[in-house]
Amino acid sequence: MLKHNLWFAGKSFLRMILLLIAVSIATFALVSVSPIDPLQANVGQAALGSMSEEQKEKLRSYWGVDTPPAERYINWAKDAARGDMGTSLLYRQPVMDVIKVKLANSLFLLALAWLISGALGFALGVLAGIFRGSPADKAIKGYCLVIASTPAFWLALLLLIVFGVWLKVLPIGLSVPIGMEAQDVTFLDRARHAVLPAVTLSITGVSNIALHTREKMIDIMESDYVLFARARGESLRDIVRGHALRNVLLPAMTLQFASISEIIGGSVLVEQVFSYPGLGQAAVTAGTGSDVPLLMGITLITAAIVFLGNFIANLLYGVVDPRIRRGGREG
């Protein structure tokens, strides 16, 4: 069993490394076809001003258009492999430090949105699936379809206008009150600032999870084993508690962990609208400002997070699904 798990973990780790290499090459290739020379761009210039000649030389050999892209990538990759992700041109700090701060800001928001959309989406999907065709099902399905076709940033603006501008119950942006010293910021302050972006992300995230959970639930409620449970006289409550929830849990878990990438993707736009200084906003800034080292760092971190999510889902599968838990060793 232990050996099996170690083997699984080792294989996953190897896959992650390969994935990160692929992602970094793809990002790099995209950036290198961009016509802007990072060092010539405004931001790049400003950053260069405060650097020593030696640093500039290193940067030039790294990112300058004179160096062939393949060589630039190898330069970057050599350092990255040693854990040095380089220096952000915009923030003038090591990329890792910038990412740490931004990620800390985003993590709260992302986790909140992930949990809310997961729990709510699951509950609504299960409900709609059990009572397929009922008014509740129609309402849930209608809601999900409307939300699925609503752009996240538009929803963000709407919420911002309603709660931030008209009702003035929630702050319109940033992650902490303006001008407050860092040590005075309470958890409540942070939570208040995260509410609107988290709600926006949750509302959009719910629809996907709910629709997929509903489909699974309908399949289960029509499955042979639920039919047979009915034929044995089990009540709807028994069937839902004893069979349906058990069986929908596995696909729901996969959905939930797969939704991490969607939440992160959504956060890029939503953080922009709410000026929330998180990873998503940093990604936009890095992209528009040609801060290649930062952009590379952010892509790699998010890819790793998404991968980790899938890895955890697979581990949980092994714990929850008896066919893997018990069958894995025999078959």
């Binding site: 029509e222 084993y225 039919l227 047979f228 034929a231 006289g233 009540s235 028994d238 004893g242 699904d321």
Partner: protein
């Protein structure tokens, strides 16, 4: 034979089942696909009635219709009586798992994520008699009830399922084991009618025999068994009467004794089945049963029948003959009055 003065446990009167389907993948218009029409069959007290018929003739659908297990898009017509009482959807929900037990056909009828022992214990507890649905204890509690545990263990032991089997998941059971699990789940309660859909394939001969003996003993207590099978020989061995299905309808119901010779059988299809049996010459009937979409007018057996004539293209009424029925224009019995036993 004095079958007419025996009480009916189950009586099915001109059952029809159809499925609503979209005409094709692009169309939004729904068409009704009739798969069972004018199907009549009955089970008296103390009787095992075998339903035989080739694949796709509607045997499983009949069982599902009785138990209210048809899918979302199914529509039904006709009447089903249980102990003389009309089985409405509410009554079905009240009786299934209690007074009416079911053995499903395929091993996919077990929840893949629940241990088999637990699943068998989870049904309705009918021994008290008044545990009817909503008021009953949740099955979570019943699954751990010591009484039910004892009964389940005894039944498993009776069918050679060891104590470890209780805690196995369906994927850990062989086909034969799963069959036995499905069978025991029907015997957990205290039913008056068992509907068993192909219960024996995959079981070894001794166990198949034992399950048939159990059905016999069960029926001899004045109860009823509807045994669905495609195995005529098995049916002839254990059943009292045979109902022959063809393309979604009953074409003949006859006591087992009528199968002693071809001359005693009435319907050309039943005779063809008889001739196809190994001991009677093994002559297969050419052709296949028509698919619902190209069902002929009049007698469904028409295209394969050597006695076909013009009158076979019209309505073919069901006729009573002694203890059985037949649906063929060439046979002249008494007209059938289905409700005579209820009056």
């Amino acid at each position: 034979m004095s079958c007419t003065n025996k009480r009916h446990i189950l009586e099915i009167d001109e059952l029809s089942v159809s499925f609503l389907q979209y005409e094709n993948s692009r169309s939004s218009r729904q068409i009704e696909l009739p798969v069972i029409s004018k199907l009549s069959v009955s089970v008296h007290e103390g009787e095992i009635v075998a339903v035989v018929g080739s694949s796709g003739s509607g045997k499983s659908l009949l069982a599902h219709a009785i138990l209210g297990m048809l899918p979302y898009n199914a529509r039904t017509g006709g009447k089903i009586y249980f102990n003389g009482e009309l089985l409405t959807p509410e009554k079905i929900r009240e009786y299934r798992g209690g007074r009416i037990a079911f053995v499903p056909q395929s091993t996919t009828y077990l929840d893949p994520l629940m241990k088999v022992g637990e699943q068998v214990r989870g049904g309705r507890n009918s021994s008290g008699g008044k545990d009817s649905g909503r008021g009953g204890r949740p099955s979570g509690g019943r699954r751990n009830d010591p009484e039910r545990r004892k009964k389940q263990r005894a039944l498993f032991a009776r069918y050679g399922l060891s104590e470890e089997t209780d805690a196995k998941y369906p994927f850990e059971c062989s086909g034969g084991m799963t069959r036995r699990v499905l069978l025991t789940s029907a015997l957990m309660g205290n039913p008056e009618l068992i509907i068993a859909d192909e219960p024996t394939p995959g079981m070894d001969l001794a166990l198949a025999k034992k399950s048939m003996e159990d059905f016999r003993a069960f029926a001899d207590e004045g109860k009823g068994v509807l045994l669905i099978t495609h195995d005529i020989e098995l049916a002839l061995e254990v059943a009292d009467r045979i109902a022959v299905f063809y393309a979604g309808t009953t074409i003949e119901e006859a006591p087992v004794s009528d199968f002693a010779s071809e001359q005693l059988l009435r319907h050309p299809y039943t005779r063809a089945l008889w001739r196809a049996m190994p001991q009677n010459g093994f002559q297969p009937l050419p052709g296949t049963q028509p698919y619902v979409k190209d069902m002929p007018a009049g007698c469904p057996f028409g295209p394969r029948c050597e006695n076909y004539s013009r009158e076979c293209a019209g309505e073919i009424p069901m006729q009573r003959v002694g203890c059985g029925t037949v649906r063929c224009v060439k046979y002249h019995g008494e007209p059938l009055a289905v409700h005579e036993h209820h009056a």
